[in-house]
């Protein structure tokens, strides 16, 4: 069972050094389970090097949880989320509903303002505090995605942005004197809004998801689900799941990262319901004496937090209450690592000890995702690469 206070809650875990008997990292596929650094105390059988030890009395080891908690409360948490989808699918409203605050003013673009011709990413950062826990939340919106007549390569700016954040982090990480806590602007989760056509995924959806699943954690949702009846929703969901399987698109939570059986059970339940059919609302109405967030139509009030009406609570629980830390872990240990290895291989050099590496300048086109590995492994770095 995942808890919020997993050991990797501490800032930037140092990477485990590569053992000679490990497989060539480049040969590991982008989503190889070995990529994830296993926690020191998994449920593997104890090896001869770390035999279990019987304790003779109470030591007070569990106090480490309290220490972690105090440290984390002092530092606060960071979470970066990106919302992608055509205009009008309720992205801004959904973000406002998720964090119960006016992150975005959901305004209609004025008549005088033309629809953006190219995709323009907009980020906004807020610090939310609840029970003295501070969360620095950054939301990146993507207005103009998929709105043009020709949407070819409309995903390139998004890929470029995500890789750009990885690059920023990498540059900070390879400095000799680096900051104690590197500010984390990497996108931890990308929520993709699928329009509720009721049929199946569109070619644009497939193209986008195929490319982005290899770079970032993607959570697809069925947007504006109040236009679908319960049966239509289920049929649509099954068809989307079939399409995702057919195109080998692995959305979050990815099957290959389930650490143990309890993770698998929990995540299978989630995977069965993905994509969630969500409805967003930022207005309150009175229903049976209670004040609820919802949409008031002539035939009834759609309550956003009512599981019988829509699956918004599942999305909120996934993103915030149960898997927030896991999203960050996978971003750091898998997606960022893939990017890092790709970039370092580009420079034909890997860090050896404390020296810093003269990285080749980042390519102007950061849209290239580290795809199938074609770079040669160079065990011996050329000494002129080092400073």
């Amino acid at each position: 069972m995942r808890t919020q206070w997993s050991p990797s809650a501490a800032p930037v875990t140092p990477l485990s050094p590569l053992h000679p008997d490990d497989r060539h990292p480049c040969a590991l596929g982008p989503m190889d389970p070995l990529r994830r650094s296993p926690s020191p105390c998994t449920s593997r059988p104890p090896s001869p090097r770390t035999p279990p030890c019987e304790m003779l009395g109470h030591v007070g080891i569990e106090a480490v949880l309290e220490q972690l908690k105090i440290k984390a409360m002092k530092m606060g948490f960071e979470f970066n989320i990106m919302v992608v989808g055509q205009s009008g699918l309720g992205k801004s409203t959904m973000v406002n509903t998720l964090f119960k605050s006016k992150m975005w003013k959901s305004t209609l673009p004025g008549l005088g303002v033309p629809m953006p011709q190219t995709l323009q990413l907009q980020s906004v950062t807020h610090i939310i505090e609840e029970n003295s826990v501070k969360l620095k939340l950054t939301v990146t919106d993507t207005p103009g995605f998929g709105d043009q007549i020709n949407n070819d390569k409309c995903w390139d700016p998004i890929l470029g942005y995500i890789n750009g954040q990885y690059e920023r982090y990498l540059q900070e990480e390879i400095l000799i004197t680096r900051q104690r806590h590197i500010p984390d602007t990497r996108v931890h989760c990308c929520v993709y809004f699928v329009p509720p056509t009721g049929h199946c995924l569109r070619p644009l959806d497939i193209e986008f998801l195929q490319r982005l699943c290899r770079t970032v954690n993607v959570v697809p949702v069925i947007a504006r689900a109040d236009s679908l009846t319960i049966e239509e929703r289920e049929a649509f969901r099954r068809r989307i799941q079939h399409d995702l399987r057919a195109h080998c698109i692995e959305v979050y939570p990815q099957k290959c990262f389930d650490e143990d059986i309890s993770d698998r059970i929990l995540n299978s339940k989630i995977r069965d319901r993905i994509p969630f059919a969500v409805v967003g609302a930022d207005q309150e109405h009175l229903v049976n004496g209670r004040c609820v967030l919802g949409r008031k139509t002539k035939w009834g009030i759609i309550e956003v937090e009512n599981m019988a009406h829509c699956e918004f609570p599942l999305l909120r629980d996934l993103l915030i209450r149960s898997h927030l830390q896991d999203l960050k872990d996978i971003t750091h240990n898998v997606h960022y690592e893939n990017y890092r290895v790709f970039r370092l291989n580009q420079s034909h050099a890997l860090p050896r000890g404390p020296g810093w590496v003269n990285l080749a300048p980042a390519p102007a086109d950061l849209t290239a995702t580290p795809g199938p590995w074609k770079v040669r492994w160079q065990a011996h770095d050329s000494s002129d690469e080092e400073c």
């Binding site: 709105d147 007549i149 056509t197 199946c200 236009s227 319960i230 399409d243 139509t297 035939w299 009834g300």
Partner: protein, 334 residues
């Protein structure tokens, strides 16, 4: 003026992105299931799909009056990643129908011309956008001089009343801004009664219609109605407070069917015809052929029967001319 006869079936073209409820609306309007055996394309198949034109004929009968309708569907419109010129197959289709009618009209046998001209195009606008999308604007601009366009807001049950009002206003403003000529309801005569005038006013104020379709019958307040069952309530398709479905149905079948045909014949077809003739004359002057002032129409290559008919008529004409000559001479002699 090319007249239509009462037996001319109305031809309605349905266009819009897939998933906006077009087939469901056809089912609700005409109470027929044209798409019972339709197999929805999967995602892989959609990647290489192009826009198709599918024709269906529907016979409906109401209070003893039979009506024949033709529905032209356009699956695949606006579905691809790159939708440049995705309206071209549709404009080509509309032009083809005009051209066919133009040729038939200029032909010899004009009694039984088949009128397949498109009388109305119902264009589905997505309710999820903030108004018209670029593909909506381009489509309507490509077709507004050729066919009556009636824009509709699809799947209106996902909008609350305030949103519907704002969206309608916004669409009307954008239609004006981009100079799109949609179908205008004709003014009603001053001697009509107040009820009719009130209805007419309401109709004009509701455009573009926000419609909901349903192919299921549900139980609401003890009655069986056509509608959609949600956990939070039941949407009744024929309830005027819920959507403009009834207004659309009245307009298409009861009140404005004739006017749609009139405008097609008197305005759109005449525009096409004038444009066609102008093109031919300019082509002739380019070829500098000075024989006849009357433009020679590009008649289709006549088949054997028609050729025989032409030869017979020529013979007749020649004989008549000879007779006339003889009569003239006789008169002169006398």
């Amino acid at each position: 003026m090319a007249p239509w006869t009462d037996s001319t079936p109305s031809l309605y073209l349905w266009a819009g992105e897939s998933g906006l409820g077009k087939s469901t609306l056809v089912h609700s309007l005409f109470l027929t299931d044209l798409y019972k055996d339709r197999k929805l394309l999967s995602a892989e198949e959609r990647i290489n799909q192009t826009v198709e034109i599918l024709k269906h004929t529907v016979d409906i009968e109401e209070k003893g009056v039979k009506l024949k309708l033709t529905i032209v569907d356009t699956p695949g419109f606006g579905d691809a990643v790159n939708n440049s010129e995705c309206w071209k197959p549709i404009t080509d289709y509309v032009d083809q129908q005009f051209e066919q009618y133009f040729r038939d009209e200029s032909g010899l046998n004009r009694k039984n011309i088949q009128d397949n001209r498109v009388h109305c195009c119902l264009y589905f606008i997505s309710p999820f956008g903030h108004g018209l999308r670029p593909v909506d604007v381009s489509f309507m601009k490509a077709l507004h001089e050729k066919v009556n366009i009636v824009p509709l807001i699809a799947k209106a049950d996902c909008l609350v009343p305030g949103e519907i009002r704002k969206l309608k206003e916004r669409i009307r403003e954008e239609i004006d801004k981009f100079g799109i000529h949609v179908y205008q309801f004709p003014e009603c005569d001053s001697d009509e009664d107040e009820d009719f005038k009130q209805q007419d006013r309401e109709l004009k104020e509701s455009a573009p219609f926000a419609v909901i379709g349903s192919n299921t019958v549900v139980e609401a307040k003890g009655q069986r109605v056509r509608g959609r069952l949600y956990p939070w309530g039941i949407v009744e398709v024929e309830n005027q407070a819920h959507c403009d479905f009834v207004k659309l149905r009245n307009m298409l079948i009861r009140t404005h069917m004739h006017d749609l045909k009139d405008v097609t014949c008197d305005v759109h077809y005449e525009n096409y015809r004038a444009h066609c003739i102008q093109q031919m004359t300019s082509k002739l002057t380019q070829d500098s052929r000075m024989e006849s002032p009357i433009p020679i129409l590009p008649l289709p290559t006549p088949d054997a029967e028609t050729e025989k008919l032409i030869r017979m008529k020529d013979e007749e004409l020649r004989r008549m001319q000879e007779m006339l000559q003889k009569m003239k001479q006789q008169m002169q002699d006398q």
